[in-house]
Symmetry: C3
C-alpha cells in the first residue's frame, strides 16, 4: 500500500483519465493491490474475479458491487502514467563518506560500516551495526535491519521486472514499492533484490542468501531462510520460515513454499510446496518421487526398444 503524496478525489482521477466516474466521489489516500485495498484506496482489477475487499475506487474492466468504478478495457495501462506522476524516482544528491556515496536524507545507524564504492540512495535507512561491503548499491527507499552483512557488488532496490503491452512495445510498470530486510540478514556477493510494485519486497530476520541470488519484486521471505548460490525467485513468491533452498533453483512467480520445506539444487518450482516437505527436480516433485524417476531414466531407452 502506497500513501499518496496528497489526498485526491475519485472525480479528479476520472478527469485525468477521461473516464466516467460511476459511484461516490470518494477521497483517496493510497494506492493498493486490490487484495489489500480499503475504502480510501485506489486499486485496479485487470480481469474479473471475486473480490474480498472493497476499494474506494476501482479501475476495472467490468462492474463490481460496492465500490466506485472507472470502467476501461485495460486498467493497468491507465494506471501507469498516474503512478509515474505520483511516485517519481526521487532526485539524489550524494555526498562522499569514506569512499562511499550517501544520498541526502539517508539514515545510517550507529556502528554501520560503509566501504569504498558503496552507494546509499535517498530515503534509505540502515540499522545499527550493519556492514555494507565494497560497491554495494542501495537504491532509493531501501530499509535494512540491524547487524546485516551485505557482500560486495550486491544491488538492493533495482526496478522489478514488469512490463505491460503498450501500443508501440512493452511499457515499464513503475516499481514504486520498496525493499525491507530484517535484522541479521546476510546477502552474498552479486545478489540482486528488486523493489516491489505497489508493496515491499521483504526478507525476514536471520535469512542468509549466498552469492548471485536473485529475488524479484514483491517476494516475501520469512525468517531464517537459507538460499544457496545462483537461485532465482520470480515475482511475488512467498517463502515460509526456516526454508532451505539449494543452488541454481528457480521459483516461478507466485510460488508458495511452506515453512521448513527444502528444495534441492537446480529444481524448478511452480506452485506450492507443502510445509516441511523436500522437493527436487524440474518440475519439482517430492524428493522420493524424483529420485525414482532419476534412477529409472537410464532404463527407458532399452524399454522402448523392447516395447
Amino acid at each position: 500500500m502506497l500513501v499518496l503524496p496528497q489526498k485526491i478525489r475519485a472525480s479528479t482521477v476520472a478527469d485525468q483519465l477521461c473516464l466516467t466516474l460511476v459511484g461516490d466521489d470518494v477521497l483517496l489516500e493510497n494506492v493498493a493491490p486490490v487484495e489489500e485495498a480499503g475504502p480510501q484506496s485506489l486499486a485496479y482489477l485487470q480481469s474479473p474475479k471475486k473480490l474480498l475487499t472493497r476499494p474506494g475506487l476501482l479501475l476495472s474492466t467490468t462492474p463490481v458491487e460496492g465500490c466506485s468504478l472507472l470502467l476501461c478495457p485495460d486498467p493497468l495501462l491507465r494506471l501507469l502514467p498516474l503512478l509515474s506522476a505520483w511516485f517519481p524516482e526521487p532526485p539524489a544528491s550524494y555526498r562522499p563518506v569514506e569512499g562511499a556515496w550517501v544520498a541526502e536524507g539517508a539514515v545510517i545507524g550507529r556502528g554501520v560500516q560503509l566501504s569504498p564504492g558503496v552507494v546509499v540512495g535517498p530515503g534509505c535507512t540502515i540499522g545499527d551495526d550493519t556492514i555494507l561491503f565494497p560497491n554495494v548499491v542501495l537504491m532509493h527507499g531501501v530499509r535494512l535491519g540491524r547487524a546485516c552483512r551485505i557482500h560486495a557488488n550486491s544491488v538492493i532496490g533495482a526496478d522489478g521486472f514488469r512490463y505491460h503491452p503498450g501500443p508501440t512495445g512493452p511499457l515499464r510498470v513503475p516499481q514504486v514499492g520498496g525493499v525491507w530486510l530484517g535484522d541479521e540478514v546476510e546477502l552474498g556477493a552479486g545478489c540482486t533484490i528488486d523493489r516491489g510494485f505497489l508493496g515491499d519486497t521483504r526478507i525476514g530476520q536471520g535469512c542468509k542468501l549466498d552469492n548471485q541470488v536473485h529475488v524479484a519484486h514483491n517476494c516475501s521471505i520469512g525468517r531464517f531462510v537459507l538460499i544457496a548460490a545462483q537461485t532465482g525467485l520470480a515475482g511475488s513468491c512467498q517463502v515460509g520460515d526456516g526454508v532451505m533452498i539449494g543452488g541454481q533453483v528457480g521459483l516461478a512467480d507466485h510460488s508458495v513454499i511452506g515453512a521448513g520445506a527444502r528444495i534441492g539444487a537446480q529444481s524448478g518450482v511452480h506452485g506450492e510446496v507443502p510445509a516441511g516437505e523436500t522437493y527436487l527436480g524440474t518440475p519439482a516433485r517430492p524428493i522420493s518421487v524424483m529420485r525414482r524417476i532419476y534412477a529409472s531414466l537410464p532404463q527407458l531407452p532399452a524399454l522402448l526398444r523392447r516395447g
Copy 2:
C-alpha cells in the same frame, strides 16, 4: 567487420606471418568474418566449407578459388597476434563526473544521467536521456541508444569468452568488436553483455532484460525482446523481434530463435526455435510435447517394474 587502422598489402601480412602469398597482392582495408568478407577484407577459414563470399585475402587450411591465399594448418592461431597488434585496447584516462568516471573521448548525450561509481570507457557513445545507475561499467567503444535504463552493477563490453588451443594452454582470442544497444533498452542489475569478436553484439530497440542476464559475444537480439532473470545466451545467438524468454534459460551458441517465439523458464535451447512457437525443457521441445513428458515421468518407475 573491423576497419584496419591503415590499409595493408596482402604481401605485408604474408611477410609478418612468414607464409607464402598465393595470388594477387591485394590492398586490405578491413578484417571480417568470412561470411561478411569482401574484396578488401582479410578473413580466415578454420576448416573447409563452401564459401558464398570471396575475401581479398583468406587465411585457410586448404586452397579456395577466387581469392588470394595464405595456407597454414591453424589460421585462427596465426591471426591472433595480428588482431592484438592492429586493435589494441585503447588506453583510458578518466575524469570524475558526479561520482562517475568518464574516459576522455566518450560522447555523452543530452539529459544522460550518470550515477556514482559509473565507469564509461574510451570511445563510448551514450544516447540522450539514457540513465546509468550506480556502478554500471561500459568498457571501451560501447554504443548505447536513447532513453536506455541500465541498472546498477551491470557490465557492458567485457571480453567475449573465446579461447583457442595454443602450445602451452588456451590462448585468448582478442575480442575486438563492440556492443550496440538500440533506443529504450533496459537492462536489470548485474547483467553482463560481452563485446563481439570481429563484429558487434547487438540488442535492438525496446528490449528489456531482467537482472543477472548474460549475453555473450556476437549475439544479435531483435526489437522488443523480453528476457527474464539469470538467463544466459552463449555466443552468436540470433533472437528475433518480440521473443519472450523465461528465467534461467540457456541458449547454446549459434541458437536461432524466430520472431515471437517463447521459451519457458529453465529451458536449454540448442539449435533453432521456429517463429511463434513456445518451447520448454532441456533439451527444449514444443511445450505440448514437453508437458506430456513431464506428466508421464512419475509413471516410468512403475512401468519398469511391470517391465
Copy 3:
C-alpha cells in the same frame, strides 16, 4: 591450515571452552581441517570417522586414540567463537589510487593495471602485469598471480556460505581462509570467488572463467580449466587440469572432476566424474547415456498409453 597469531596450550583452549582436557597439554600452532592436521594442530571432528591424521588437539563427539581430546556434543559450534577471536577481519584503511581504493599493506606488483572503482583489501598481493577492470573487489588477503585479467564487477574473497544450526537460528561459520589464483587466470565480469573456511579456495594457472561464474569456499581448481558462464561450484569441489565445463552447470559440494573431463551445459553433477569422460544432464551421466535418454523421452507418453 591457519597459523595461530600466537601459540596456545591445549589447556588454555579447554579453559576457554569450559571443557575437560583428556590427554597431553600440547602446544598448538595452527588450526587445520582434520584431514590435514598435524601434532601442532587444533582440529575438530563433527561426527565419528576413521582418521588418517593425529591432530595435537581434537574437538570431538567421541574419543579418538592418539591425540589430546576435548569432548563435546557439537564441536564446530564450540569452535566458532574461537575462530572469530583468533582470526578477526582485519580493519581496512584505504587510499585512493587512480580512482581505485587500495588498503594499506596490500602489495601491488609491477605493471599492475588498476581501474576506477577497484577495491583492494588489506593483505592482498597482486602479481605483475595483472589487470583489474573497473569495480573489481578483492576482499582481504586475496593473492593473485601474474598476468591475470579480472573483468569488471567480479568479487574475490567474499565469505563462503556456511552456517551452523545455533540456538536461535543459523550461525555464520567464520570464513578465515583465503583465495589464491595462479598466473594468467582470467575471470569474466560479475564472477564471485569465495574465500575458504580453514584453507584456501584455489584456481590454478591459466584457468579461464566466463561471466557470472560462482566458485564457493575451498574449491580447488587445477590448471587450464575452462568454465562457461553462469556455472556454479558448491563448496570443496576438486576440478582437475584441463577440465572444460559448459554454461549454467552446477557442481554439488565435494564433487570431484577428473583431469580432462568435460561437463555439458546445464548439467548438475553430484559426486565424481572420471578423468577424460564427458558428462551431461541432471543428474549428470556419461553423454552417450544421457543423449539416449533425451532421445527416448518423447516416446514415453505413447508407451504409457499402450501400457
